[in-house]
């Protein structure tokens, strides 16, 4: 089957979800641009937006309309060319409206899974539950005569496992977008043992056309991104516990979050990142990964305890951060959840003492925001880390240990053949997690 033909009937499962909605957006724009090519004039393109939630689908369509308008406004120069022969479309306004209509016209929102029986490509982005995923995939495959190709967005379930359990005969590939897909550039691509090469190539073409960066990852639970993040998070939790022995959990969390954000020049501290992804999601991903790893226990009793106490993090549909391990005001952390008192303790109560213990930061410190987009990023980091290396404060020491652990995790991903190369590990952390530098670095000794 030719690529264009394959894209004429696509289904996205879980289309109303965080990931599904973004994947739908990107795919819809892709199909619209295809449909507007003169050679495809007589072809119909269909994109089924499938989800169990009617309310979710209704919200999805509103979200999409806004996004399509923005996308059209950004590429009006090209659109004028694409609609050159439509004499009645004169002003940018006419052209943008027409394009938004044309994209929306491809999408069929529905709660009926059966529509996927006619699809030639199925993008799966439903909840991260192996049983539910397998059941749905095999149901579709048994009823679909086209031998469709499947992309799964799973964060942690091995592709080979999905393939064999749903009996897909190698017609499935991990295409792991990052949240939010519309913005994040990185896509991890994961072949299962039996995955067909033509499916992989087709995916790489599509990802490129969506202007994303594909990084291949081997089929190990968690792949590269979560393979690093989950271990990094566990290290953070353990470091906080160590500090807690001499002070308190609350102070430990504050301190480690500060060191990981400031000392290590990251976009956010490790506990804020756990909240961002969601405490339950992290815990769940670890539980899916854990049976597949040897010599390691990817599990955290602290996360379990938080979940029991209802401290979950995650985001509101507006994208605002929900309270989790940390409490947020205007998007900034202001307090830490106390596991014993079951309440938030404000930074202001203990912050000064903690900061004093950490010691002074090098005068060459600049926050992530000022560094990451700076043209002289490499030089700034070089100078700063050099200074930090020369220091023997508590803060500098925690940072050094943290960085070397991050290093170790990165190298292990290569040693275990999860990643093809150290460069791939770094690319994932740079593009998927917006780190200013890769975990495999020579900065700190």
């Amino acid at each position: 089957m030719e690529n264009t033909e394959r894209l004429q009937n696509v289904s996205v499962l879980g289309a109303a979800g965080k990931m599904g909605s973004g994947i739908l957006l990107l795919t819809a724009l892709e199909l619209a641009d295809l449909s507007l090519k003169p050679e495809n004039k007589d072809k119909t393109f269909i994109l089924n937006a499938i989800d169990v939630s009617d309310a979710g689908l209704s919200g999805l369509m509103k979200y999409l309309q806004g996004q399509f308008i923005k996308a059209a406004e950004k590429k009006t120069v090209q659109l004028r060319g694409m609609y050159e022969n439509r004499d009645e479309l004169i002003e940018n306004y006419d052209i943008i409206n027409q394009y938004v209509f044309d994209v929306m016209n491809i999408i069929r929102p529905t709660t009926k899974m059966e529509v996927a029986y006619n699809s030639t490509l199925v993008f799966e982005a439903i909840i991260e539950n192996p049983d539910v995923k397998v059941k749905l995939l095999s149901q579709i495959d048994q009823n679909n005569h086209h031998k469709p190709w499947y992309f799964t967005n799973t964060s942690s379930i091995p592709i080979t496992q999905l393939d064999s359990a749903a009996n897909l005969g190698g017609r499935i590939l991990g295409v792991h977008f990052y949240n939010p897909p519309a913005v994040q550039k990185l896509v991890e691509v994961i072949k299962g043992k039996e995955t067909r090469e033509d499916l992989n190539e087709f995916a790489l073409g599509l990802i490129k056309s969506m202007r994303k960066k594909a990084v291949p990852s081997n089929d190990f639970a968690g792949f590269i991104g979560n393979g690093h993040f989950m271990r990094d998070a566990l290290h953070g939790i353990n470091e906080a516990k160590k500090l807690a022995k001499e002070s308190s959990w609350v102070e430990g969390v504050y301190t480690i979050n500060k060191v990981t954000q400031d000392y290590l020049v990251r976009p956010m501290g490790i506990f804020q990142l756990i909240d961002y992804v969601g405490v339950e999601v992290c815990s769940y991903i670890m539980s899916v990964m854990n049976p597949h790893v040897k010599d390691e226990d990817l599990h955290s009793d602290v996360l379990d305890q938080l979940i029991v106490q209802g401290v979950l993090g995650g985001q509101y549909s507006s994208g605002a951060q929900k309270d989790g391990i940390l409490k947020y005001e205007k998007g900034r952390p202001v307090a830490v959840w106390d596991l014993d008192r079951k309440d938030y303790i404000y930074f202001t109560d203990f912050q000064d003492a903690c900061d004093a213990k950490l010691g002074k930061m090098p005068s060459t410190f600049m926050p992530w925001k000022a560094v990451n987009f700076n043209r002289s990023k490499a030089a700034i980091l070089e100078t700063y880390f050099n200074d930090l290396n020369g220091m023997n404060s508590l803060g500098a020491n925690i940072a050094k240990t943290y960085n070397s652990r991050s290093n170790e995790i990165g190298k292990k991903l290569v040693a275990d053949s999860v990643a093809h190369s150290e460069a791939d590990v770094n690319t994932v952390m740079l593009t998927g997690f917006f780190h200013a530098y890769g975990p495999i670095n020579e900065y700190l000794k």
Partner: protein
Amino acid sequence: MKLRRKVYMVAGYNTVSLGTGRSEFHPKKERPGIEHYLQEAGQAVLKQIGGSANVDEVVIGNFMSARFNKQAHLGAFAAIIDEGLRYKPSISVEGACGSGGLALTTGIRSVLAETADVVLAMGVEVQNTVKAIYGADILAGAGWFKNRKKGHAYFFPGEFSDRAGSYFDTYGRDYARKGMATWFKNAIENARLCETAQEHENKVGDLIQLGLSEPNGKVFTDYLNVFDCSKVSDGCSAIAIVSEEGLKRIGIPKSQAVEIASFAQVVDNLTEQPKDPVELTCTKVAAKQALTDAGITKDDLATVETHDCFTIAGILATEAIGFAERGKGAEFVAAGNTARDGIIPFNTTGGLVGWGHPTGATGVHQAVTLWEQLTGKAGDAQIKIPKEKPYGLSVNMGGNDKTVVSIVYKKV
């Protein structure tokens, strides 16, 4: 034609040119509407000239409030500026981005016709009501609508990109871009000296390098980058146009005013593409007529305010007015001749690229700047006006060199 009666301009005022670049501007924050701008600038002039009782007539230049603000009939806003303007004559005039210039010539004609001794001339535009991509549709109204379909998404940048492209082909790309980048640099440096300028707070270090950024035809135009373009602006400018009797009535000494030595207002055919893309022919005709009628040459000018809607228009204006020979404008500018310390300072408060371009207000803004410079009121932006060169020239253009107003001002 020589003026048969003495005409002066006095008591000018500019609001801030609001838009990207100004720290108080935020696209999502509520902003003043067209009424507020008219009130601010109008009242500021009235205060200087002894109140509305002294005003015989109001003229408001505006290009596209009917689309930007869904508001037409601006003349009848006069009474919101001051109750005393109710039941007085007031009109709005339109000639695309030359609307402000038309407000001035309309006021001058009234004084010459002796139907008014004091005219409140204003220009206003509030453009940030829509995103730039839709603003481009609206501004395209300055061209012939029949050409809109085949025009660029950013219609006017597209038109002037074509001119720039021709200039590149004829005289060399790098040569031209160097001149254009210098024009940009001068504009920003002058704007930094003027508190109302949109680029007043600009802190960029290497302006030449920024000005030389590669154009990207995929998202914008083939030959212009965004730094080659004037700004999207909200703003209002106002000034009083008065006769000798009018000056007496408002009680301001002549030394505080500038004399209008001549004015020219000409049009070209809107339905035609430029016959000579590397020349602003209509501008050339207008400037020549204005200088001739004033009985002076370019060498008598101390400063020029020209319509640099794009840096290439600034370069072409130095040629059209006669400072540089054909094809030599880029060199003339790159050599620093049009900078504030050059032989002929152009656009001393930043022009359209640096001060801003509230389209319908621009012509009046030029008059206010020249009045300030020739009467020593330009503050930090003040340049030296040599005794032997007591003149200033303005060139205000509508569309792609289709309506042009050129005025010669004389220090009294």
